[in-house]
């Protein structure tokens, strides 16, 4: 592959697009797929053929359009007109109303705040390109970043670019990505590895799945750039077995990239070689922790080990290894293409760029959103999310999954970035955001997350294995109104011990849901104590 060939593919795609009058996009990501989007795609194709419009109008399956609650979604481009809840029976609404201006019952306002308030970098191609065609990714400047890096930048310049951009790890920790890259780049060793962590285990989070399903090539390009920067020639994508669609699209993408010479030996005519293989997870939350993930790729039980040594020095098979999250890799190509300064201009002082959130729970517009760092929770939940359904009252928003915490209404106006959420006792996490209304019982929520941590604890270290079970027991006492004052003290102490003495992040952060609900909703715990006293 040369730059000319890349541009040729791009030109070819643009020509093909210009020959069609319109193009109809049908969302075929997992959310809409589960509502029969594939049948909708076929129906629309069939109807266009009947009308003799197949030549003028292109129909294709695209990645996630974001508003999963209203799926299956269909849009008509280039005017960006959207339809919601299209099924086989009402697909004619789309094909009969191709002309502008006609209103239908299933119109979806594409200028609503849900779409307008977003800022898309990671998901810029989601809902735009067909994820199973590499040509379409190339048409939107795909693999140009990789070319630039291989031909115009040396390894150190790539790392410096990343440092300047201010990108931080999107898996939850928020460790500066550039710094991580430079550590692995400096590590001694002829063999190094790049790993993409796609073991999205947080319940209530589906950002990574959507990106993998909608734009898999973006991840491959990000990984290849990383491999060049740190001097690796082999990469792994560790993806959950629960995401069959993402796995199959990744496989297709890797094959296409290999065929085009964008993965393999002598990429873009340079001496740079890079191959990627997929490894399947098998349903263990702890494997999101980097050392546990490495153990799992090595074929064993996914149990973490103490750090240091960090994977940057001694990771997969004892070799220096770079591990980044899917969303982190998805940010790399745009940073290279548009420049570190551009990226650093978005977001807040300490947290640059955008963040993808999976908005779910008791909120009107559930789905996938991408917003600049520093947007307030109120804007996210009430403007973009459309507020709470049924006129009920907002109670709390849970961020960061089982490692995060619940944030009550009085803090809705804080600007979302890594530091502000940590200060509130929650974390950014990978981006799950669950909204709860007045009907939610916070002790139950804390107990739900503790049950999760208890059963997902790998059992290697005592504080986590025993502590989470004990905390769960105490919370059950509260739920059944058998708790006493002493239990409350014990609960607080236990949380402190588990947080400070556990081996890995899972254990250390497992008390967070309890601590944050204790902090903001202590009366709900107290009510359950007093109820018992009153009965006596």
């Amino acid at each position: 592959m040369t730059l000319e060939e890349l541009q040729e593919i791009k030109a070819g795609e643009e020509l093909a697009r210009s020959q069609k009058k319109k193009s109809i996009h049908v969302c075929v990501a997992a959310g809409c797929m589960s509502q029969n989007a594939e049948a909708v795609l076929n129906t629309i194709e069939g109807q266009l053929k009947e009308k003799g419009l197949a030549k003028d109008i292109d129909v294709k399956g695209v990645g996630c359009m974001g508003l999963c609650a209203a799926g299956p979604l269909v849009s008509i481009e280039p005017e960006n007109r959207m339809f919601q809840e299209i099924n086989q029976a009402n697909a004619f609404l789309v094909t009969d109303n191709l002309e502008k201006g006609k209103k239908t019952t299933n119109d979806l306002a594409s200028d609503s705040p849900f779409f307008k308030r977003q800022y898309k970098i990671v998901t810029e191609n989601c809902g735009v390109i067909n994820p199973e065609r590499i040509e379409e990714y190339i048409a939107f400047d795909g693999y140009l970043g990789l070319y630039t890096v291989l031909h115009d930048l040396d390894q150190n310049e790539v790392v410096q670019n990343l440092i300047k951009s201010g990108l931080r790890g999107r898996g939850g920790g928020g460790y500066p990505t550039g710094l991580k890259w430079s550590t692995v780049a400096k590590a001694v060793g002829a063999k190094k590895y790049v790993i993409c962590n796609a073991d999205e285990g947080d319940p209530g989070a589906f950002m990574d799945r959507s990106v993998l399903e909608s734009d898999p090539h973006r991840i491959l390009e990000g990984m290849a750039i990383a491999a060049y920067a740190i001097g690796a020639d082999e990469g792994f994508i560790y993806v959950r077995a629960e995401y069959p669609l993402a796995i199959s699209r990744l496989k297709v993408a890797i094959k296409q990239a290999e065929r085009k010479g964008l993965l393999g030996n002598n990429i873009f005519g340079t001496t740079f070689n890079f191959t990627i293989s997929i490894r399947l997870g098998a349903g263990a939350f702890v494997c999101g922790e980097e050392t546990a993930l490495i153990a799992s790729i090595e074929g064993g039980r996914g149990t973490p080990r103490p750090r240091p040594p960090y994977p940057a020095e001694s990771g997969l098979w004892g070799k220096p290894t770079l591990i980044n999250n899917v969303e982190t890799f998805a940010n790399i190509a745009p940073i290279i293409r548009k420049g570190a300064e551009w990226y650093a201009s978005i977001g807040t002082e300490t947290s640059k760029g955008t963040k993808v959130f999976a908005l779910a729970g008791q909120v009107v517009n559930t789905g996938l959103i991408e917003v600049p760092m520093g947007m307030s929770l109120r804007e996210i939940i009430f403007d973009i999310g459309g507020g709470i359904p049924g006129g009920r009252k907002f109670k709390a928003v849970q961020t960061g999954g089982p490692s995060g915490g619940c944030i009550p209404e009085e803090f809705l106006d804080i600007k979302v970035d890594y530091e502000s959420l940590t200060k509130l006792g929650s974390i950014m996490g990978s981006g799950g955001m669950i909204v709860m209304d007045e009907n939610s019982n916070m002790v139950d929520v804390a107990r739900y997350f503790m049950e999760f941590c208890m059963s997902e604890s790998c059992g290697k270290c005592v504080p986590c294995r025993v502590g989470t079970a004990q905390i769960y027991d105490i919370l059950t006492k509260f739920a059944e109104r058998r708790a006493t004052e002493a239990d409350l003290t014990l609960l607080e102490e236990l949380c402190d011990v588990v947080r400070n003495t556990s081996l890995c992040g899972l254990g250390q952060s497992s008390p967070n849901p309890v601590l944050s609900t204790l902090k903001y909703f202590k009366h709900e715990y107290m009510e359950r104590i007093q109820a018992e006293v009153n009965q006596e």
């Binding site: 589960s34 509502q35 209530g204 589906f206 074929g299 064993g300 996914g302 999760f452």
Partner: protein
Amino acid sequence: MPAYPVKVQPPTEDKRWGLVMATMKRHGYQSNAMIETLHTVQESFGFLDDDSLRFVSKALNVPLSKVYGVATFYHFFTLKPQGKHTCVICMGTACYVKGAGELMETIAKKYNVHPGETTDDGNLSLVTARCIGACGLAPAGVFDGEVNGKLTAADTLTKLTKWE
């Protein structure tokens, strides 16, 4: 450890072992291919029985204890045969706050089966999932591989009655 892979014969003549052998071959009979191999076994046979664990252990030259350890560590692997139909109810946070717990109770009550178990007649396996990533459609479930969103207790029972 021998320098070359020792060819181990599958426990039965079943053709499905061919798929398992292919997976192991693709990874060069390396011990780190164990999880991939177990995935293939489960895909082909539905569950991991003692014979298959012994076979994987021998073929990849890994102690049986280690294979058993891996097979029981990960939730995805099951050592028991599944029912004729499988119903997975997602218990992710989004589904939980939208009432997945009640769905589960309804099913458990009607069919007298607990999560992770199969009914006595071997017809229905009830499984919980941590999160199937369909949070936008909560509460969600998977019925014999088909994802369904925005479930109500009535919907779910209608679907299950069809399998009776």
